[in-house]
């Protein structure tokens, strides 16, 4: 006989009756995991969208020379561009070409709109260093000297409400994931307690034969791990299928913002890791619950 106490082996898995820890347990975990994966995917997708928004608008501004007189407008635009190209905080300055302006305005003014007498502002796109981006007023003051008709539009400013909404939704998704994790843990506690009651007779016999709390807890841990693995896999597969369908639908919309909310490989890896985390969580919670309950026995 070996000294000390070993883990119960494979044959000892039979010590608890065949079948699941408790009937609906794997399916409840599957539902929890399904919702958790969807909430996490939403959070991760929004994170990608927010990052994409940052890339598009971050540290960027547009200078508009708004003057009805075309000669003055053109002269100020040249002066402004020359100044911007000299300023140390400006990493790039580009005059938006007339053709690009026509394309931008065509949806509103029609194909011949740009050729009309409408005074179209001259536009200069600039990229700034983060420090210069934080000191936009200095830039405005410098421009005012050479181009009094210049107006600086901070791109992030008009996208701020959208960024705020995305941030809030991200927090909401994170909160939902945490709630689901809490609900899963609570489900495991209830299932483990119910199972302890069901198998009390067997546990008492094992106990009186010298089984340690850890030995008995391992039996429950193994059983609940199988349940959680099954439920987690079902939940992940179902949620993954839905995410793929939604991804295809979003792709069909052709929206830049929605399209940017796609999931990169790292996000998919995180989603796949969720059921694994769920199994570990279930095992830890089941073990703690069982050991705590056994601690009340002599």
């Amino acid at each position: 006989m070996k000294a000390g106490v070993r883990k119960f082996g494979t044959a000892d898995a039979r010590l608890l009756p065949e079948g699941r820890l408790s009937g609906p347990m794997p399916w409840v975990i599957a539902i929890m995991m399904f919702l958790t994966v969807l909430a996490a995917a939403a959070g991760l997708g929004l994170g990608t969208a927010a990052a994409s928004l940052d890339d598009t608008t971050g540290n960027r501004a547009t200078v508009q020379i708004v003057d009805a007189n075309p000669d003055r407008r053109e002269a100020q635009a040249r002066e402004a561009l020359a100044l911007l190209q000299r300023l140390p905080g400006v990493t790039s300055a580009r005059r938006v070409p007339a053709e690009e302006m026509d394309e931008l305005l065509e949806p509103w003014l029609g194909p011949s709109g740009a050729e009309s007498d409408l005074p179209i502002p001259a536009m200069i796109d600039i990229d700034l260093t983060p420090q210069a981006y934080g000191e936009m007023d200095s830039l405005r003051a410098a421009l005012a000297d050479v181009a009094p008709a210049a107006r600086v539009d901070d791109n992030a400013q008009w996208l701020a409400p959208l960024a705020g909404l995305i941030g809030s939704l991200q927090w909401l998704a994170g909160g939902l994931v945490l709630l689901m994790i809490g609900a899963t843990a609570a489900t495991v506690v209830l299932a483990a307690r119910a199972s302890l009651d069901i198998h009390r007779g067997t546990i008492e016999v094992l106990h009186l034969m010298g089984a340690t709390d850890v030995q008995v807890a391992r039996l429950f841990q193994r059983r609940i791990a199988l349940d959680a693995l099954f439920g987690g896999a079902v939940g992940l597969i179902a949620a993954g299928a839905i995410l793929l369908v939604i991804g295809n639908r979003i792709g069909a919309l052709g929206s830049d913002l929605l399209g940017s909310a796609g999931l990169p490989p790292l996000s998919w890896a995180i989603l796949v890791a969720l059921p694994v985390f769920g199994v570990l969580l279930a095992m830890v919670v089941a073990r703690a619950t069982v050991i705590r309950a056994l601690g009340r026995m002599l």
Binding site: M1, K2, A3, G4, V5, R6, F8, G9, A11, D12, R14, L15, P17, E18, G201, T202, E204, V205, L206, H207, L208, M209, G210, A211, T212, Q215, G295, L298
Partner: protein, 238 residues
């Protein structure tokens, strides 16, 4: 532990369930290693409660109990499993695990103690054959008769060669021939050094082991001839 040394020692032990009257009062006795003891007394005398103290299912409400030379009253809970593995128990209601086969029930103490699966087959099969159940190894308890269940319970209690065997009415459901066989098994174990404590009403059983000693219990107290404080139980009259 040398033969003849005290394996169990009770000093002024009392047991009370909840707030009721004491079920056991002022029990003081010692059992030597290798002894064969019968515990008798009328129903409700407290025999099962005394056995529960012996197989560590209960701690006393007061008094001192030493088992294998150690105070188990104040012993930390975490050390109790190691002591329980040195004790074999035949429960009055058998307590077989209903979803396990006779083989797996008998193998249970060995699995708890960490015996490898490859080392289980021979001793468990031999033990089942010895109690006459070799052909019922795969049967579940529900399909066994009362006597067969009792024999599985006994096989389970002795399979790990315990230092102390505690049996509560172990022959209550078997025919006289099987009772004799089981007692012979206990006798053999006892000769190998196992201390045996058997609770029974069966006077014939008591008289069949000549070297046995007897503890008589009535209304929770030990009666003459078991003796007063620290006196060993006297030999049973054959």
């Amino acid at each position: 532990m040398n033969s003849g040394a005290s394996i169990v020692q009770f000093d002024n032990v009392g047991l009370r369930y909840g707030t009721g009257a004491e079920t056991l009062s002022d029990l003081s006795f010692s059992l030597r290693q290798g002894g064969f003891y019968f515990l008798t007394g009328p129903s409700g005398a407290g025999k099962t409660s005394l056995l529960k103290l012996l197989y560590l299912a209960q701690r006393p409400s007061r008094g001192l109990i030493k088992l294998f030379g150690e105070d188990i009253v104040t012993m930390p809970r975490g050390r109790l499993p190691g002591f329980r593995r040195r004790i074999g128990v035949v429960f009055q209601d058998f307590r077989l695990v209903s979803h396990l086969s006779a083989f797996d029930n008998v193998a249970l103490p060995l699995r708890v103690a960490g015996v490898e699966e490859s080392d289980l087959q021979t001793p468990v099969s031999e033990m089942l054959s010895w109690v006459g159940l070799g052909h019922r190894a795969t049967a579940r308890p529900a399909t066994l008769s009362g006597g067969e269940q009792q024999r599985v319970a006994i096989a389970r209690a002795v399979i790990a060669r315990p230092e102390l065997l505690v049996a509560d009415e172990p022959t209550g459901n078997v025919d006289p021939e099987m009772a004799k066989r089981l007692l012979h098994l206990f006798d053999g174990l006892n000769k190998l050094g196992t201390t045996i404590v058997v609770a029974t009403h069966d006077l014939h059983l008591i008289s069949s082991i000549a070297r046995s000693e007897m503890l008589r219990l009535d209304r929770g107290q030990l009666l003459d001839p078991t003796g007063a404080l620290r006196h060993p139980p006297k030999r049973a009259e054959a």
